[in-house]
Structure formats: structure tokens, C-alpha cells
């Protein structure tokens, strides 16, 4: 089973922290891959907050593809971060790893936020399309203040390989996943966390309702709902669909993926809306077993389970620093000095929500429809 480690903090932290937490959960992952998504970046990127950052991997041929394409589209390179690669046994390096901040094409500089977001996503998708044959180019995210790193291998070794302990890369929110390879061949686009237009999530467990959900999302007419090399990618897209496309408040994500029984809906004050949602969004109901950890564009982090809670998770921490992990030992590693009795083990109806800057943690209860 994959292991998940997320830390949200009001200070910049090193990606080594969640990776060390993953290390404590080592029994659970087989070291078949590491995925990292960083948000609210520090270091060199701190001053580049308004510029979208493209994260990816490519071959030399892919790099040329990328440069040509971005030039053609009118993006200008502002800054580039490259990991200082170390040779590590067991990791076959790709030619080129990058995180590049670009300035928007002139025509887009004064466009609305939404138009910019769509441009960024479409650019990413175009690059994915031209780069995927022959695996010349992988682009994981293209969005302001977000950086993604993925590679196949044991998390600690991958961190070593990328030289992540060199203090150059820092962020306030970091999601890390240690991969347990099960059904799928290891393919970089199948590695968590998944990201789309400011929304990010990672999951463990299989998704037994994958096919109907994939079909529903792919048929929404939204170009970003594609890929699905992993059955978990749909969790991110459902989040995006609910919050960005349907304008629903975050807790309703829980109502979509694990709808209440009719009798339970009757007890909620928003029952009329819920009844309608349960019907219209029926295809997006998940059946687990999963724990989902993610963040939204404003920096809110959350943890939620499938209705049977077959993959439990835990949230613990102190004001200004919270850890959302698939294992308690991970929380111990990330926030050792905390009151453990206050740790939250979200139950079937709970959604744990940590506000931006790790200000406070709240539990939203689905049965009551409130915090």
C-alpha cells in the first residue's frame, strides 16, 4: 500500500521532512517511486510567485521539443531550477529534470486568472501530447507557486539522487508519496500526487469505482480530465470539478465521493441540495478503500476517507505545523513535539481540514454538515 506524508506549515520546510516521515513508514511502501508536490515555494522561487512553474522530466530530444514549443507559444523563461543529481544505485537517471518559471505570453499578461489557468493547463496538455510518444517529455504541473518532482526508486534514495538536502528547495506545503507498485507498470504519469489548476491530491488503495468515474469525468468536455494512468488521478479531478467547476465549498467534496444514505440526508439542513447532488453526481461516488490527502489553491489541506474507512489516516500537529499522514509514525517524525492526545483519526463521516498557513485544524462532520 502506498504511504502518504503531507506537511503544512507557516514556515518554509525542506522536502526532506516529509520524506523522512515516509522513511518511518517504510514497511508499507516497496520503494517503487517517490512523488512530491510543493506549494507556497521558498528559496529562489519565493520572489517568483506570480510566474507559473513548469515541472517535468525529459530527454535531450524532449528538451528541444519543450524549448521550441514554449518559444512558439510566447512564454519567456525567468528562472530554472535543476536538481544537483547524485549517482545512486538503482536509479536510472533521465537526461533532464527541471522546474522552470516562465513569464506569460504578452497577450495573456492582463488576462483573468481563469483564462491564465486554462492557458497553463492547455500548454501542459499539449506538451504531454507531443512528449508522451517515446517518453521524451513528462510535464507534471504548470502553475504558479507549485513544483512537482517524481522519480522511480526508494524515496530516500530518490531524495539523495535529487540532492534535496541541499536546502535550495523549500515550501510551506509538501505532499509526498512513497509508492507501492501494484497493478500498474511504473509510469511517471501514474505517480501521485496529481495536480490540476491549483488542486492536488494523493491517495492510497485501489479505486474500485475507477472506470465509471473516469468515463464520467472524461465526458465532461473539460480537456484536463484525461490521462488516468492511475486510478487515483480521478480523486484530484473530482476535487477540481467540485470546487472549481461546480463552485461547491470544499466539504461537499466528501458528500460527492461518499454520499450519505437517504435517511441521513434527511437530517441535514441542506438536504434538498444534497438529494439533488447525490443523483446528479452519482457516478462520482467512490467505494474505497482510500484515504485522500490534498490541498486546494488557497492552501487549505484536507484528509478524507472512503465510507468504509478501510485505509485510515491521521492528522496531528501544533498551530503553524500540521502533518497529514497515512501512518501515526509519520506524524511522530514530522511533528514530534505535540500533544498526541489531540491527534485526529478521522472517522467515516469526517473530513479534516487544515486552514492555510496551518493556522487551525477543524473536523467537518458529514452527518451534521458542520464543523
Amino acid at each position: 500500500m502506498c504511504r502518504l506524508a503531507a506537511i503544512t506549515s507557516n514556515e518554509y520546510i525542506s522536502p526532506m521532512e516529509p520524506i523522512m516521515a515516509l522513511e518511518t513508514m517504510k514497511e508499507g511502501h516497496d520503494g517503487s517511486g517517490l512523488g512530491l508536490t510543493l506549494k507556497n515555494l521558498g528559496g529562489a522561487f519565493e520572489k517568483l510567485k506570480k510566474y507559473p512553474i513548469m515541472s517535468g522530466i525529459c530527454s535531450m530530444a524532449g528538451k528541444k521539443m519543450l524549448d521550441d514549443f514554449m518559444k512558439k507559444e510566447g512564454f519567456t523563461l525567468k528562472h530554472e531550477w535543476k536538481p544537483k543529481l547524485k549517482q545512486v544505485k538503482g536509479i536510472v537517471p533521465h537526461d533532464y529534470y527541471f522546474a522552470r518559471a516562465y513569464d506569460y505570453p504578452a497577450a495573456f499578461r492582463n488576462k483573468s486568472h481563469q483564462e491564465k489557468e486554462d492557458l497553463l493547463m492547455n500548454t501542459r496538455l499539449s506538451l504531454r501530447k507531443i512528449g508522451e510518444p517515446g517518453e521524451a517529455l513528462f510535464v507534471f504541473s504548470f502553475y504558479p507557486d507549485v513544483l512537482t518532482l517524481k522519480e522511480v526508486g526508494d524515496p530516500l534514495q530518490v531524495a539523495d539522487f535529487f540532492g534535496l538536502d541541499d536546502d535550495r528547495l523549500k515550501a510551506k506545503i509538501i505532499l509526498a508519496q512513497g509508492r507501492q507498485n501494484t497493478n500498474y507498470a511504473i509510469y511517471l504519469y501514474a505517480c501521485h500526487p496529481f495536480f490540476i489548476q491549483g488542486f492536488c491530491s494523493m491517495t492510497n488503495g485501489e479505486n474500485t469505482a475507477f472506470v465509471p468515474i473516469r468515463e464520467f469525468l472524461s465526458s465532461r468536455g473539460f480537456p484536463g480530465y484525461m490521462g488516468y494512468n492511475s486510478d487515483s488521478e480521478v480523486f484530484t479531478h473530482i476535487l477540481h470539478y467540485a470546487v472549481r467547476q461546480l463552485h461547491l465549498p470544499l466539504p461537499y467534496y466528501k458528500d460527492i465521493i461518499t454520499p450519505l444514505k437517504s435517511t441521513e440526508i434527511d437530517m441535514r439542513t441542506d438536504r434538498e441540495a444534497l438529494r439533488l447532488m447525490k443523483q446528479s453526481l452519482r457516478s462520482l461516488c467512490i467505494d474505497g478503500p482510500n484515504v485522500i490527502i490534498g490541498f486546494t489553491p488557497d492552501g487549505t489541506c484536507f484528509m478524507v476517507h472512503d465510507a468504509k474507512k478501510l485505509r485510515p489516516g491521521v492528522v496531528g500537529g501544533i498551530k503553524g505545523r500540521y502533518a497529514l499522514m497515512s501512518e501515526e509514525c509519520g506524524v511522530d517524525s514530522a511533528v514530534p513535539k505535540r500533544d498526541r492526545s489531540k491527534d485526529l483519526f478521522p472517522m467515516k463521516y469526517d473530513m479534516v481540514i487544515v486552514s492555510p498557513q496551518a493556522e487551525e485544524v477543524k473536523v467537518w462532520n458529514q452527518q451534521q454538515g458542520q464543523y
Binding site: T208, H247, P249, D270, L276, M277, R282
Partner: protein, 555 residues
């Protein structure tokens, strides 16, 4: 041909028993000549007869056999094609000594002769094709193992429910947001179509004229019990011909789907009852076609049109009631059908889902696409070739129609392409439970994309012991002589059927199906929503079929 023995006729032009589909095996030594079999036979295929035979007897204390020629009574099968033995087995059922039994004759040439007087063969029942259907070849192969723990059908909470009715796309939900809490925007004027939560297996249309009073009553009682006592929201479609007036005005109406078909029988009474209805019906089904007999209409024979039936249907007694094969006024789906859907919706103030039922057909997709564009269309029921009927031409039943599996799948995938797979529920019928695998067939269809399935013949067999099968057994439903009392209006016959027993069986059947559905869905890791379109769970042992259905091939 010359007579073989001088002037004695050699029975040329008489049929031999070998031409008949069933041959009666009668055992002289067991028969006590009670006459029950000949009395019960619905078609008089057997008759008592007298014969002179050489009989060897020994009656004293020591064996002293003597041969005598004596006159004895026998039971004989007649060779009149109009009185062919249907293999129903009613004779065996009543025989106290197991002395008589019909035996299937696979070499029969029945269809060569069953057109006397130029009358094409008509019958009831279903397609005579005993081969294994596609539905029965589908296997559930995505079993959750160690990577994703399987659910426990006994421990985890299951919701085996589906939705009947047009569902709004999420983008069109009229929602308001107030302080983080959602509500419904009542001022938006947005039409929110009615939707019912139902058990995904329903009883398909069987009319009250085709069925005997105790059969219909039994089904209706069973359905009401399931809803009221067991909490299983099973619904049942009325078939053409109306509903009992008291039921129309009762609170149980909500468990029934009222059908309107090409004869519009029963609708006078229904419209008259409208102001007194205390509940809305579950839905309205507009029948355009029936899987068992595409292109063939309905016929309720005069002898079945007794007082009650005549009243419910609003017609005189004892006249043949023919429903035309097509709705005479429906010339186009864009206008006439849309109007009919709209008028039916309007009759109940847009509170009742209205959906058409068609026979499985290559043209189903065209119908579907029209419905997809009609915001009042509440779904589509597609009835495949293995469906049943009370009366039809044999050729319509055996040769016309489309198998349900690929038809349904094609329609579902078409909806997926348009992103409307959750908007327009598909109801699949026709051959569900053909070999008794009710839940498995239903689950397979659901995973191919059906929101619900309907069963008719299966329920007649399981709940009322109908003799019919795919070897043309019995299938006398059109004649009014149903030996089980299921499809007859003759009190002498239908008093054989106990409506309480039928109701009891209906309840048992659905409770068992509920358990079996859980047993299928649990190992596949599904419990909260029906796995509609979860095609990765299915496999079939034929590559061409796998490709056609878009599922995997497993062998």
C-alpha cells in the same frame, strides 16, 4: 404412393408421433386408469382409448400363465397437430402413480406442420433458443484481493438502489450558496425532473388481461409487501390494459409503473381516477415495442375479456382486443413521441417520470439520441430478444429482435460519449434470469451500463411455477388455457393459483436477489453505489464478444 396392403389405407398424410415435439411415455403397468391426466391436459393431446390386446395372466397360487385377448383401456397420444402435446407435464403432475410423462423429441418437425389452414403459428412464452445467452457467459473477474480489501456482504453496509427518472447534469443543478451551505434556487424556474429511488430489478410489464386475477394480485401484494415491510423499493410495470380501479386510488399506486401502449386500453379508467389518486405512480412507461415480438402487436383473445377486464379496459366483454403493432399516431420520434412524453408528464403535473420502452434493435441508438435531447424523457427501456410475451407469432418470437447485451452496451457507450450516462437511465430487459441466474444477469447488465433491469417470464416461473421454457414447453399463454392458472381468465383454471403463494414467492425471490447482488458486488469492492458501467469487472470467454462489449477476454 401405392397402398402397401391392397385397398387398406396406409395412413399416408397422417403425422407420426415422431414429428411431434413431445412424445408421451405412458406406462401401462403403472396406470390405474383414473383419468386425471386426460382431464387435466390443456390441449387434449392425450385421450383414453380402448384396445384389444394379447395379455398374459397368471392368477393362481402357482405360476400358470395363460394368454388371453382382452379389451383394455389405454391412454394414447393423438396425432392431430392442433392437439400437439406441449410437454407441459401437467399430466405427470396429477398422475398418482408416475405413469405418464412427456419426453422432448429433438428430431421433431413440428414447425413444418404447425400452419394448418394457413394460420401461422402463434403462441405465448419466449424465444425457443435454449443455448447459453451472452448474459450467462459474462463472468465477474475483478475480484478485490490483497491490494484492495474485498467487502463483506454480511458486515458492510450495502445500498443496492438505483434511480428511475431523468437526472440533471451537475452543471445544471439550481443551487444557491449561503454562508457555505447549499440550497435549492427555487426562483430559478429550473425544472427538476422527478426521480425515484428503486431496487435495480423490477417486474416488467405484464398486463392484467394477460394475467389471471390471482397472478396479478399475487404480484401486486408481493411488491407492496417488499416495499412496506421489507424496505425493498421494488416496482412493477402494469403492462397495457390499465390497473384495477381500487389500486389506482390506493396508496400502493406509488409502487407501480403504468404502461400506455398502442391500444391505449385502460386509459379511460386511469384518467377518470386521476382526481382521486392519493399517490403518484412510480412512472409511466410508453410501450413502442416489446423485445419478444418486435413489430408485432398484442392480442387479448375474446375468451379472456371477462367482466373485470372489460371494465378496466373500458371495452365490451368477449371481443378480441388487438393492440396495433405500432402507435398509429406516432409517426416521428422528434414530434409525436416527444409530445406524448410531455402530455403524460403534464397529466401528473410533471411529478412522474415518463419513459419509452422499445424492442432491442439496431436503431435503438437513434431513439436514444432523440431522448437524450428531450429534457422530459425520463429514461429508456430496451427489451431484448429473449423477452417473453403472452401472445405472438412464433416467427416474431424466434427470429425477430436484438440480443440485449450488445444493444444496451452500445447505447450506454453512446451516452458516455455525450456525457449523459447518468442523465438518462437505461433499463435493460429480455432474458434476465433465463437460466435462473437472476442476480448475476442483472449485475452483468448493470456493469455494462444499465441502471435497472426488468424481468417478466422469470418471475412467472419463479413465483407461479410457469411451465414454459426455451424448448417450447407449454407456451399456451395466448390460448387462455394456462394449466398453471397464470395467463387465463377461466376461473376453473385460475383457482389453481393461490395469490398468497405467489406473493410469498415474489418476496422470497427479491430478498434472495438482494443477497446475491451483494455477494457479487462485495468481492468487487462496491457497496455504496450501483456499479453502473463498471465494465472492468466483467470478462467473457470469447474474443469477438469481448471486443464488441468493450470488456476483457478471459479464459
Amino acid at each position: 404412393m401405392e397402398p402397401a396392403a391392397g385397398s387398406i389405407l396406409d395412413h399416408n398424410h397422417h403425422l407420426s408421433l415422431r414429428e411431434f415435439p413431445y412424445i408421451i411415455r405412458w406406462r401401462d403397468d403403472r396406470c390405474k386408469r383414473c383419468g386425471r391426466c386426460t382431464a387435466v391436459c390443456p390441449v387434449k393431446a392425450i385421450a383414453p382409448s380402448v384396445k384389444v390386446q394379447r395379455i398374459v395372466r397368471s392368477e393362481g397360487p402357482l405360476p400358470a400363465p395363460t394368454a388371453v385377448r382382452a379389451t383394455t383401456h389405454v391412454v394414447e397420444q393423438v396425432t392431430d397437430i392442433e392437439r400437439y402435446c406441449t410437454g407441459c407435464g401437467a399430466c405427470s403432475l396429477v398422475c398418482p402413480n408416475e405413469a405418464i410423462e412427456p419426453e422432448l423429441n429433438p428430431q421433431n418437425k413440428f414447425l413444418h406442420y404447425k400452419n394448418k389452414g394457413g394460420d401461422a403459428y402463434k403462441r405465448g412464452g419466449r424465444r425457443n433458443d435454449p443455448s447459453v445467452s451472452t448474459l450467462d457467459r459474462l463472468k465477474f473477474t475483478r475480484i478485490s484481493m490483497l491490494t484492495d480489501p474485498a467487502l463483506d456482504a454480511g458486515r458492510h453496509e450495502f445500498r443496492i438502489r438505483s434511480l428511475l427518472g431523468r437526472i440533471l447534469p451537475p452543471e445544471e443543478m439550481p443551487l444557491t450558496l449561503d454562508n457555505g451551505v447549499l440550497g435549492i434556487d427555487k426562483k430559478s424556474g429550473k425544472f427538476v425532473p422527478p426521480v425515484r429511488e428503486i431496487f435495480p430489478i423490477m417486474i416488467g410489464s405484464m398486463s392484467i388481461g394477460a394475467l389471471s386475477p390471482p397472478m396479478w394480485e399475487g404480484l401486486a401484494m408481493g411488491i407492496s409487501y417488499l416495499n412496506e415491510v421489507e424496505g425493498l423499493p421494488v416496482v412493477m410495470a402494469s403492462g397495457e390494459g390499465g390497473m384495477p380501479p381500487r389500486l389506482l386510488r390506493s396508496k400502493y399506486l406509488k409502487y407501480f409503473i403504468i404502461q400506455i401502449a398502442s391500444g391505449y386500453f385502460g386509459w379511460d379508467e386511469i384518467i377518470r381516477a386521476l382526481p382521486d389518486m392519493v399517490e403518484d405512480p412510480a412512472a409511466i412507461e410508453i410501450k413502442y415495442g416489446q423485445g419478444a415480438k418486435p413489430g408485432d402487436g398484442g392480442l387479448l383473445m375474446a375468451q379472456k375479456v371477462l367482466k373485470l377486464i372489460a371494465k378496466i379496459r373500458g371495452v365490451p366483454q368477449f371481443v378480441d382486443l388487438a393492440s396495433p403493432p405500432t402507435h398509429q399516431t406516432k409517426y416521428s420520434i422528434e414530434e409525436a413521441v416527444a409530445k406524448m412524453i410531455q402530455s403524460m408528464s403534464m397529466a401528473w403535473g410533471f411529478r412522474v417520470p415518463v419513459y419509452p420502452k422499445i424492442s432491442g434493435s439496431k436503431t435503438a441508438k437513434a431513439v436514444l439520441n432523440n431522448l437524450a435531447r428531450n429534457p422530459f424523457a425520463a429514461g429508456l427501456c430496451i427489451d431484448g430478444e429473449d423477452g417473453g410475451t403472452g401472445a405472438a407469432y412464433n416467427v416474431s418470437m424466434d427470429k425477430m429482435g436484438h440480443p440485449i447485451a450488445s444493444n444496451l452496451r452500445e447505447c450506454y457507450l453512446d451516452l458516455v460519449k455525450q456525457g449523459k450516462q447518468n442523465e438518462l437511465p437505461l433499463i435493460a430487459a429480455g432474458g434476465v434470469g433465463k437460466k435462473g441466474n437472476l442476480a448475476a444477469n442483472a449485475a452483468a447488465l448493470i456493469m455494462l451500463g444499465a441502471s435497472a433491469v426488468a424481468v417478466g417470464k422469470y418471475i412467472m416461473q419463479a413465483a407461479a411455477d410457469c411451465f414454459g421454457d426455451e424448448y417450447n414447453r407449454c407456451n399456451l399463454c395466448n390460448t387462455g388455457k394456462c394449466p398453471r392458472g397464470i395467463t387465463t381468465q377461466d376461473p376453473k383454471l385460475y383457482r389453481r393459483l393461490d395469490s398468497d403463494k405467489v406473493a410469498e414467492r415474489v418476496v422470497e425471490v427479491f430478498k434472495a436477489a438482494d443477497v446475491e447482488l451483494r455477494k457479487i458486488f462485495a468481492p468487487m469492492g462496491r457497496s455504496t453505489e450501483l456499479p453502473i458501467g463498471m465494465s472492468d469487472g466483467l470478462s467473457i470467454d470469447d474474443k469477438a464478444m469481448a471486443e464488441r462489449l468493450g470488456i476483457s477476454y478471459a479464459c
